[in-house]
Symmetry: C2
Subunit: 148 residues, 2 copies
């Protein structure tokens, strides 16, 4: 099945929230009401460097990710592109959807002038670690988080 | 010595670039000419969610970091704040400058509505790992990078 990736619209949010919750870690940390997601999406829409992308197949949202373009001075003034919140519908896994998602992110990142693509992943997602390493990512860093 | 943190101006760039290069990893990856850094700083200035902060003491730039505010839908629509490119002048280390920098970042992150502060760090920076853990950060993630 072929997946088309495009920028999300507000109409896609229910599908995106369902994907976020359909995840071993997401089950415990997504909320039932849609309002917080609509507010966050509106904030993202104000920032041209921050987009929510959905993958659509047969009219349904089957994948999503967030891409943030981060110009900066470090690393010889590298512009970074960062992926967050990657999800592929459970019924679509193992069919190349993840690979297509990474290719889409790389194309968008390059088009925005980024020369480094980065993401962090919870240590417990062992299958995903192998997937990203197989797709050219190097697990060179430790990701630190602090709730505020 | 007391450090005042503020948003960087273009006049601060030579001091920032000197700090970036004054680092065990930075020595090999920063460039001599200033033009790429000026271009990156101009790109950052167009993005209100992406600021370069400098720490000043006695009129000199002695610390810097980049703070990016990333609204998003995942994690119940959490707004993240991300730190990149942290540097403290070698002569200022071990005197609380790093701690003051983290406090400044947390204040700016909270003021922007962020509820999660995050950063990645090269695995080889063992002393920095201990520093961030001592300051409430949890090394829960693996950071993957892919040059484009």
């Amino acid at each position: 099945m072929s997946i088309v990736f495009r920028e999300a619209g507000e109409r896609d949010l229910p599908g995106v929230v369902a994907l976020l919750a359909d995840d071993v870690l997401g089950q415990g940390r997504e909320v039932a009401e849609i309002a917080p997601y609509r507010d966050a999406f509106a904030r993202m829409a104000e920032d041209p460097n921050n987009v929510l992308i959905v993958g659509e197949a047969d009219g349904a949202v089957v994948a999503c990710y967030q891409l943030t373009i981060i110009p900066g001075v470090s690393l010889s003034a590298t512009t970074r592109a960062q992926i967050e919140g990657v999800r592929v519908a459970s019924g679509m896994r193992g069919q190349g959807a993840g690979r297509a998602l990474v290719v889409d992110a790389e194309e968008r990142a390059r088009a925005a002038g980024a020369t480094l693509l980065q993401l962090t992943m919870n240590r417990s997602r062992k299958d995903s670690h192998r997937f990203y390493e197989a797709n050219g990512f190097v697990p060179s860093h430790i990701g630190f988080k602090k709730p505020l």
